[in-house]
């Protein structure tokens, strides 16, 4: 069936071995999906003109929620009336995105009926992104979502955003914390913040089960919860021998099925703190020098495992560049036990948000507030003591704001006495 709009440029993207979104959307359009047809036409126009054709959102949403829907209108409704309105709905994913075909088919049914049939699996934050519907469909979709799918919308705007974690204990031997439960629990606990704007700006939680950080929490989450341990790396010396003897493939096969493993070059010498030694028989780790970088563990997963006294490092403030430049998260709690119901952590979060809500300017991310006011103010607000683990290096400028409380007489001088000692 010929589609409504010719798409000679897009068609170029049907070539090549990688899955083609163009072929995919055309397939759906060919089934009579009018939104897909016009969306293809609009994309073709953008490709031709090298400019996008979507306008700002405007406030659309479902009743009682201040987030979860991104309004979107096309700037050429004259040419593409079926995508004149093309709002996105963010559906909060189950933590780390396990599905069965049953629930996914239900989503498809819903979206074929009431939306464009286009999705992102998944959005960068983690949501199931349903791309393109009209304002009048929002409430019906929401109803079906909550009633039939038992699902809810995700975050947008100055809300808590849908938290996400790595798959953690569900399939990974390195998970030091139950990322999935943490994410689920926080999401449930803070439903109100997720649906109703109460913050100066957006706020994101992400949790990775270990320092590999497979959900990129340290780069993308205002609050990054990263699993770690504080006892010793567990060593299976027999398995070490297996690796050294070429019986076990190194690096879990990530470098292919090779047999030339060199424990010195690949492990001992690459340990960032050089705290390992191998005498040909026994592998030794000076654990007090280990920074838990996971390198040795990932190279010899059958021989080495994280310790058993596990918990998380909490880091704050990651964000994209706007306004004050991109930030990675910074350590504020070197170690915290993370066990359900996460009471200590939640108390920390409440203090953190209070501080941010009280001091943050409009559209000021937590990381920017910390930048502006200094880590000291944050630590005071959340009642944490300074720790060298919070910095790569202590300050190197002498611009110290000494606390007047520690100075005899505080900020005051006795001017008269001074001038008795010193003639002007």
């Amino acid at each position: 069936m010929a589609l409504k709009h010719a798409t000679p440029m897009l068609d170029e993207l049907e070539k090549g071995p990688w899955p083609s979104f163009v072929s995919d959307v055309k397939r759906l359009a060919a089934k009579g999906n009018l939104m897909c047809e016009d969306w293809l036409g609009l994309m073709e126009l953008s490709f031709k003109e090298k400019e996008g054709h979507w306008k700002h959102g405007g406030i659309v949403g479902v009743f009682g929620y201040g987030g979860g829907v991104i309004g979107r209108y096309c700037d050429r409704p004259d040419l593409f009336p079926n995508v004149a309105h093309f709002h996105t709905m963010r559906v909060n994913q189950p933590a780390s995105k396990y599905y069965n075909s049953d629930v996914l088919r239900k989503i498809c049914d819903l979206w074929d009926a009431k939306g464009s049939g286009l999705t992102n699996m998944h959005g960068s934050t983690g949501d199931i992104v349903l791309l393109g519907t009209t304002t009048d469909q929002l409430e019906p979709i929401f109803y079906e979502l909550t009633h039939d799918l038992k699902m809810d919308l995700g975050g947008s705007g100055s809300n808590l955003r849908s938290p996400e974690g790595c798959l953690g204990m569900s399939r990974c031997e390195w998970a030091c914390i139950n990322t999935q439960d943490i994410i689920y629990d926080l999401t449930q606990e803070f439903q109100d913040a997720l649906h109703r704007p109460m913050f100066p700006y957006k706020f994101k939680f992400k949790s990775s089960g270990c320092p590999m950080d497979c959900v990129a929490a340290i780069a993308r989450a205002d609050c990054s919860i990263i699993g770690t341990w504080r006892d010793d790396i567990r060593i299976d010396q027999e398995a070490v021998k297996g690796y050294v003897g070429g019986e076990i493939v190194p690096h879990g096969g990530a470098g292919g099925p090779r047999k030339d493993f060199d424990i010195k070059a690949e492990v001992i010498d690459l340990c960032p703190t050089k705290c390992m030694a191998f005498d040909g028989k026994t592998l030794k780790i000076e654990n007090s020098d280990c920074v838990r970088c996971m390198h040795c563990i990932r190279v010899m997963p059958r021989a080495l495992r994280p310790g058993v006294d596990t918990g998380a490092t909490i880091l704050l403030g990651a964000k994209a560049p706007i306004l004050e430049g991109a930030q990675l998260s910074s350590v504020v709690i070197p170690f915290i036990k993370m066990e359900s119901p996460y009471t200590e952590f939640k108390e920390f979060v409440e203090k953190l948000w209070d501080y941010w809500m009280e001091n943050g300017k409009n559209r000021e991310r937590l990381g920017e507030l910390i930048q502006r006011q200094g880590l000291r103010e944050l630590l005071k607000a959340v009642e944490l003591e300074p720790d060298p683990r919070m910095v790569n290096t202590p300050r190197y400028n002498p611009y110290i704001f000494y606390d007047p409380e520690k100075v005899p007489g505080g900020w005051e001088h006795d001017a008269t006495e001074y001038r008795k000692r010193h003639q002007a």
Partner: protein, 366 residues
């Protein structure tokens, strides 16, 4: 009860949050949760995780366009039904993983997937180039300087061989964002593709007062380039072009300040970022190429430049060495030499922390 448009509050359910994470787990995961012992990548795209109980789970990872239709999802479901009792998941980088509990179904699944044309490329594990994390582009956003899905498709086509193999020194993570908002981990990727504008917004003085909150617009500018200005009787703003670095943040606040432009917009490439704490600490990506024109539909210059970078890395990187670690070892002077990329004024930082990037040592290579 069915939805009643005249009574949206009836039976309303809110704040239930997402389904519990374990709701859709296959039984093998329920049973071995938190008790996995080790894993092995059997071949590119095929992971085996072995539990303390001895149980083994096979995950087959396939690439996906991320921008996918319900048609596509239904196909995925059909495959999952056939081989995985309906179980599957998506990864944090938008790949799909078919979860096989029964080893006997592994080989049939792989051959089934291979039989479905290019829809389900197998790979993305280990020392590969996995899926490109990306954003909306011209598909759905109002501020993009480039498309997202189109660029990703063109780049992945070219790098396809690296997706299904383990031949790189380490994993290479590519990300794309269509504007400086960087909806992804673009600022910390081995290779980042970033949509950039190069013309300051123009001010639609007639409209500003109607559609924008002027104080918010002014506050939105990172470089304080925007000032209030009267335009006849109307309130508007003025932009100091020479302070503008084209971030588009003002446009997000105010539709009467468009900055998109076919010739102005294009792509900047960044390299050497990472997220994991393995060996070295997480790092930001740094500027490799300040500007490449927008070249739809297949962005050949961008694609070839990325290829060049990947191949220089593949040739020069040592085992376990991420792109950024490779560059730190050889030095930026060598990076530019080996890739043939030009080093220009744009590469030298001139924003707030600029001085921390200058070379304050005589150590460098001639």
């Amino acid at each position: 009860m069915a939805f009643d448009p005249n009574n949206v509050m009836q039976d309303r359910i809110t704040d239930i949050g997402p389904p519990s994470y374990d709701k859709f787990f296959p039984p093998i995961i329920k049973e071995n949760f938190g008790k996995w012992k080790y894993h092995e990548i059997l071949e590119p795209g095929v992971l085996m995780h072995v539990a303390e109980s001895g149980a083994a789970l096979y995950s087959v990872r396939v690439g996906s366009a991320r921008l996918i239709s319900t048609e596509y999802i239904r196909e995925v479901c059909a495959i999952a039904d056939k081989f995985c009792d309906g179980h599957m998941r998506w990864t944090t980088r938008n790949n799909i993983e078919f979860l096989v509990s029964d080893k006997a179904k592994l080989a049939p699944l792989l051959s089934d997937l291979r039989g479905r044309g290019s829809w389900f490329p197998i790979g993305g594990t280990g020392n590969s180039i996995t899926n490109i994390v990306h954003t909306q582009g011209w598909a759905h956003c109002h501020t993009p300087a480039i498309d997202a899905s189109g660029v990703v498709k063109a780049v992945m086509d070219e790098l396809f061989d690296y997706f299904g193999s383990h031949k790189l020194p380490a994993q290479v993570r590519i990300a794309l964002a269509c504007c400086l908002n960087m909806c992804g981990a673009v600022h910390c990727s081995d290779i980042s593709i970033l949509g950039v504008h190069r013309k300051p917004p123009f001010v639609e003085n007639e409209r500003v007062q109607n559609v924008c909150e002027i104080p918010l617009v002014i506050a939105a500018c990172p470089t304080a380039a925007i000032k209030p200005k009267k335009f006849g009787e109307r309130k508007s703003v003025e932009i100091n072009n020479s302070r503008c670095m084209f971030c588009g943040n003002c446009y997000t606040m105010c539709p009467a300040l468009p900055l998109a432009d076919a010739e102005g917009d294009g792509i900047a490439l960044w390299v050497g970022g990472k997220v994991s704490n393995v060996k070295s600490a997480p790092m930001f990506s740094k500027l490799a190429v300040p500007y490449i024109p927008n070249e739809p539909p297949r962005w050949p210059t961008t694609v070839q430049t990325i290829k060049t970078i990947v191949e220089a890395y593949a040739a020069g990187g040592r085992r376990y060495e991420r792109v950024g670690e490779w560059i730190n070892r050889i030095g930026w002077e060598r990076f530019f030499e080996k890739t043939g990329l030009e080093f220009a004024h744009e590469h030298i930082d001139d924003y707030r922390l600029a001085m921390t990037t200058w070379r304050t040592t005589t150590q460098f290579k001639f």
